[in-house]
Amino acid sequence: MKVADAVEVLATTYQSLDFVAQGLEVKASEVAAALAKAKPDTVEFVCLTALSKYNPVSTEVASSEPSE
């Protein structure tokens, strides 16, 4: 699902944002990028904040063991 579509769903719902955000499948990196651009105190910011809560950007830790 596109982030913009997910934001639209969240912006128009009367249900719990947490509840709805858990069911929306979006890419964490796209959510993080959109959240970085969003202005605080806007509907987009509130929705993206809810999405980012359940779609955190995970950074892979490089293995310290030498590979053969």
Binding site: A11, T13, Y14, Q15, L17, D41, T42, V46, T49
Partner: protein, 171 residues
């Protein structure tokens, strides 16, 4: 939801209600600019274009959540079990001086007669410069007028917040 970013050192609390029965969506309840500010009047730091004050409020008892209990009974058994469940939101029973010309109270009374009208309410804390607002959607009910001759007439009504429909915002 955005959390209040400021601790108000001294403030005036006031309550506001939407004049049109078009409750905000959950996300908009947490947005001050162009949303919650339109309900809060200028006397509390808002713009107030689509809201009216519940100015005569005298008392708002504690509200929030309470433990809910589910009761079970087996037919023919003498004892029943009460099992604690998830906490349930309590309603807000408000006492206000009754003024039959007050626009806000008349809206609340009409909503209570209907029982089906959802509306956005805002509790605003204003320190003269900034406002912290708690907005929620609720239905009104149990509107009663206490017109004892020995005292000022009062009205008592209950707001039933809709589940999960609330938000914090600030100016």
């Amino acid at each position: 939801m955005a959390l209040p970013s400021k601790v108000l050192p001294g403030f005036v609390a006031s309550m506001w209600m939407q004049t049109s029965a078009a409750p905000f969506t959950t996300a908009n309840l947490a947005v001050w600019v162009a949303q919650v500010t339109t309900i809060v009047g200028t006397s509390a730091g808002g713009t107030g274009a689509s809201g009216t004050a519940l100015a005569t409020i005298e008392a708002v008892p504690a509200f929030g959540q309470d433990d809910a209990v589910a009761s079970f009974m087996v037919a023919g058994a003498r004892q029943s079990d009460k099992i604690p469940t998830q906490s349930a939101p309590t309603s807000m029973t408000i006492t206000a001086a009754w003024n039959p010309s007050d626009a806000g109270l008349l809206l609340v009374r009409a909503d209570a007669y209907s029982g089906l009208v959802d509306r956005t309410y805002v509790i605003a804390a204003y320190d003269g410069t900034n406002t912290v607002a708690y907005a929620f959607n609720a239905r009104a009910s149990q509107f009663q007028i206490d017109a004892q001759p020995g005292a000022e007439a009062k009205c008592v009504f209950t707001l039933h917040p809709r589940g999960n429909q609330y938000g914090w915002s600030n100016s």
